[in-house]
C-alpha cells in the first residue's frame, strides 16, 4: 500500500512525466457541413493553401457577418472536431475536448483568441504546446507548463460558470490498469454540461407606455428563423449563458440588438399592450406549413432574414430543382410504397398551388388525404 502510494506521489511530482507523444490527437467525428450557401474558407483564411492548414485568426467578427455562417465556417477550415488531450495524463485519464463546440461558442465571447491567447487578430493560431513545454522549467517560473496552461485556460471559464473545480468534470480518474478511457465527447455533452434551455419567449416591460410590452420570441428566432447564437449574442461570456444563477444577458435587453436586423420605425412592430404569442405561420400568413415544412428554416423559402421575400406560391418556386427520380419521399413523413413510389409528383400534388394538399381523388373516389395516407406513416 505504502509503495503504491509512493509511486503515485512520484507520478504526481513528475507531473508531466513521459516524453511528449502526439499531444493533441484530433478526431474527426465526420460531421457534414451545413448546406446553407456560404463563402469559401479561403475568402477569409488566406493561409488555407494547398500545403497550409494553419488557421489564421481573423478576429471575433470573422464568422459573424451577414452570411449567417456563424462559426460554422470553422467546420470547413480543417480545425479539429474533437481533441483528446492525453499527453500529460498520469493521475487522471485523458480529456476529451470538443474543440468544435468550443470554437463555435467562442464566437459569442471573443473568438479563437479567447483560448489561443497569443494569436492576436491576423496572426497564425498556434497550439498550446508550441509555447508551453511539457515540463515545468525552473528557468521560466512565470511561464506555466503545458499542464498548467491547459488547466488555467479551461478553468478560467469553467469555474466561473459551473462554480466547479472537480477534476472529474473533465477527466476520468486514471484506472488502476493505467489505460486512459477514451470517451465520446458527444455522449458527455449533456451529462456534464447543463443543457441550455432558454425560454421560448422573453417579455420585457419597457417605459414605452402605453405599448410597454415587448414579447421577444427567442425560440422562433433561434430555431425557425435560422439564426445562430452569435448573430445576436456577441459580447457575451461563458457564464452569461451557462451560469443558471444569472439572468438573461444584459446586453440583449437593448433595442439596438433588434434593430440590427429589424430596420423598422413603427414602434408597434415590437411594442404592444398585450403579450404576443409566438409566431404562427398559418395565422399570420394564411399558409400552414404543415408537418412537411414545420422544421424548414424561414430563410429557405424567404431568402435573407432582414427583408423577407414573399415566395412563389408555386411549389416549383422552391422545389424546382427537385429530381423526382432521386427525391426521397420519406423526408416528408409519408413513405411511398409500390405503385405510389413510381408516380410523377403531379399525380397527387397540384404543383401550381403550394397551399393545396395532396389529393387522392384522381384515382380513388373513396379516399382523401390526409385521413388516408398511402404507405406506412413514420
Amino acid at each position: 500500500m505504502r509503495a503504491a502510494l509512493a509511486a503515485i506521489a512520484v507520478l504526481a511530482a513528475i507531473g508531466a512525466a513521459g516524453a511528449p507523444r502526439s499531444a493533441e490527437r484530433p478526431v474527426d467525428r465526420g460531421r457534414t457541413a451545413p448546406t446553407m450557401a456560404s463563402p469559401t474558407c479561403l475568402g477569409c483564411h488566406a493561409s488555407f493553401g494547398a500545403d497550409a492548414d494553419v488557421p489564421v485568426n481573423r478576429g471575433r467578427f470573422a464568422h459573424a457577418g451577414d452570411d449567417r455562417v456563424g462559426a460554422s465556417a470553422a467546420r470547413r477550415t480543417g480545425t479539429p472536431d474533437v481533441v483528446i488531450i492525453g499527453d500529460l495524463a498520469n493521475l487522471y485519464g485523458a480529456v476529451v475536448f470538443d474543440h468544435r463546440v468550443h470554437a463555435d461558442m467562442s464566437q459569442i465571447a471573443g473568438g479563437c483568441v479567447n483560448c489561443h491567447h497569443h494569436a492576436p487578430e491576423g496572426s497564425p493560431v498556434s497550439a498550446c504546446r508550441e509555447c508551453h513545454a511539457p515540463e515545468r522549467s525552473a528557468g521560466t517560473p512565470t511561464h506555466p507548463s503545458l499542464k498548467g496552461a491547459y488547466h488555467r485556460q479551461c478553468l478560467s471559464c469553467h469555474r466561473d460558470w459551473s462554480h466547479e473545480n472537480a477534476c472529474g468534470f473533465c477527466h476520468t480518474e486514471q484506472a488502476a490498469t493505467g489505460g486512459a478511457r477514451v470517451v465520446d465527447a458527444s455522449a458527455l455533452a449533456h451529462t456534464r454540461f447543463p443543457r441550455l434551455e432558454p425560454s421560448a419567449t422573453y417579455r420585457y416591460e419597457t417605459p414605452q407606455a402605453p405599448a410597454a410590452l415587448v414579447s421577444f420570441q427567442h425560440r422562433d428566432h433561434a430555431q425557425s428563423f435560422g439564426l445562430q447564437c452569435v448573430d445576436c449574442h456577441r459580447a457575451g461570456s461563458c457564464a452569461g449563458c451557462h451560469d443558471g444563477s444569472q439572468g438573461p444577458q444584459e446586453s440583449m435587453h437593448r433595442m439596438d440588438s433588434c434593430r440590427s436586423c429589424h430596420a423598422v420605425n413603427a414602434c408597434g412592430f415590437c411594442h404592444d399592450q398585450q403579450p404576443r404569442p409566438p409566431f404562427d405561420h398559418a395565422v399570420a400568413t394564411g399558409w400552414d406549413p404543415g408537418p412537411q415544412h414545420q422544421h424548414t428554416p424561414c430563410v429557405s423559402c424567404h431568402g435573407r432574414v432582414e427583408a423577407f421575400l414573399r415566395p412563389s406560391s408555386n411549389c416549383r418556386g422552391c422545389h424546382g430543382g427537385l429530381d423526382p427520380q432521386t427525391f426521397d419521399h420519406r423526408i416528408t413523413g409519408v413513405p411511398l410504397e409500390g405503385s405510389h413510389a413510381q408516380f410523377a409528383c403531379v399525380r397527387c400534388h397540384d404543383a401550381s398551388r403550394a397551399e393545396a394538399p395532396a389529393t387522392c381523388h384522381g384515382c380513388h373516389a373513396d379516399r382523401s388525404y390526409p385521413p388516408q395516407t398511402p404507405g406506412q406513416r413514420n
Binding site: R2, L5, A9, T142, K147, H151, R152, R159, C167
Partner: protein, 292 residues
C-alpha cells in the same frame, strides 16, 4: 567606598551596557543565503481544488486517501487551520455576488526571522540559511512556546500522541528539494498557482506581475515585509485582511525581545558588570571599619 566612587562605578556600568548595544538588532539577515528559497502563491490563479492538501498528506502523513475526496467542498464551510496531520489547508473566502471566491492555501510561512525559533528554549526550531524553518524533534521538550509565538498560529501539536508528541508544521519538503524535486504541493498544483524558487526571484516576479497587470491585483506582496518577511509570498486581487491574513508590521515579533535579550547578554558584559558591581558593593559594605 565614598559616594563619589559609587556614582563613578554605576556610571561606568551604564556606559558599558549602552556600548554593548541595546538598540534593536533587527534580526539576523546576515545569516541567510542570498539564494534562499520560497514559494509565491498567486491567489488569482488558485482554483481551490485542494490537491495540495492531498499531496502534503501523501508526503507527510500517508495514506492520503482517494484523490477525488478533495472534491468535497463542504470543508469550506468553516475556516480551518493546519493540523498535525494536515500541514497545509485551503480556505475559501466568498467573492462578491456573482464573483469568484478566493482560495487561500495556508501553511507555515517560513519567516525570515521566525518568532518560533526565537521563543524555543532548546533550539528545536531553527531557521536554515537556505530558507526553511525546520523542527528538530530530538531537541524538543514540548513546551509549545513556538506555537504561542507564531504570529500566524500555523504550527500544531500532536495532542493525541501521549508518549512522543511533536510539534508539526510544514518543513518545505526538505527531502524532496534536496533531491531536486519541487515541494509536494507545488508539484501537484494543476494550475501552477504555486511557484517555488529563490525568494529574491519570486519577489521580482511578483512585482513584475503587479506592474504588468495592475488591474488584476492589489498592489501588495504579502510576506515581503510582514513579520519581518516570510518565505511564502502571496499575490491577491482582494485586500489580504479580507482573506484571513493577519495584519502584521514589518518587523519580526522576535526583533524587539531578541534585541533586548541579546543586547543585555552580548559578550556577557552586562552580567559581569552587574555581578561585579554587586560584589564591589558587598565588599565595600563588609570592609572593616577604619578606626578613627
Amino acid at each position: 567606598m565614598s559616594r563619589r566612587d559609587f556614582v563613578r562605578l554605576t556610571g561606568a556600568c551604564a556606559a558599558t551596557l549602552a556600548a554593548a548595544g541595546v538598540a534593536p538588532a533587527g534580526g539576523e539577515a546576515g545569516d541567510l543565503d542570498a539564494d534562499r528559497r520560497g514559494v509565491l502563491v498567486d491567489l488569482t490563479v488558485c482554483i481551490g481544488c485542494r490537491r495540495c492538501e492531498w499531496a502534503c498528506r501523501n508526503e507527510n502523513n500517508p495514506p492520503a486517501g482517494e484523490l477525488h475526496e478533495c472534491d468535497d467542498q463542504s470543508v469550506f464551510r468553516s475556516r480551518r487551520r493546519p493540523t498535525s496531520t494536515q500541514l497545509t489547508v485551503v480556505n475559501r473566502s466568498p467573492g462578491p455576488a456573482g464573483g469568484r471566491p478566493v482560495h487561500v492555501k495556508t501553511q507555515c510561512m517560513h519567516c525570515e526571522h521566525p518568532a518560533c525559533a526565537s521563543a524555543c528554549l532548546v533550539g528545536a526550531m531553527r531557521k536554515t540559511p537556505a530558507g526553511p524553518v525546520i523542527y528538530d524533534a530530538s531537541r524538543c521538550i514540548g513546551c509549545r512556546y513556538c506555537m504561542v509565538a507564531c504570529p500566524f498560529q500555523y504550527a500544531s501539536y500532536e495532542y493525541d500522541n501521549a508518549l512522543t508528541p511533536q510539534v508539526k508544521k510544514c518543513q518545505l519538503c526538505g527531502n524532496r528539494t534536496q533531491r531536486g524535486e519541487l515541494p509536494a504541493c507545488v508539484a501537484i498544483c494543476p494550475v501552477e498557482a504555486l511557484t517555488y524558487g529563490r525568494r529574491d526571484d519570486l519577489l521580482r516576479i511578483a512585482h513584475e506581475r503587479l506592474r504588468s497587470c495592475p488591474d488584476q491585483y492589489i498592489d501588495h506582496v504579502y510576506g515581503e515585509h510582514e513579520a519581518g518577511g516570510t518565505s511564502w509570498l502571496y499575490l491577491s486581487d482582494r485586500p489580504f485582511s479580507e482573506l484571513g491574513f493577519p495584519t502584521l508590521g514589518s518587523s519580526s515579533p522576535a526583533a524587539l525581545t531578541e534585541a533586548i535579550q541579546h543586547g543585555i547578554f552580548k559578550g556577557f558584559a552586562a552580567p559581569v558588570m552587574l555581578f561585579g558591581l554587586l560584589g564591589a558593593v558587598g565588599k565595600l559594605m563588609h570592609a572593616p571599619k577604619e578606626s578613627p
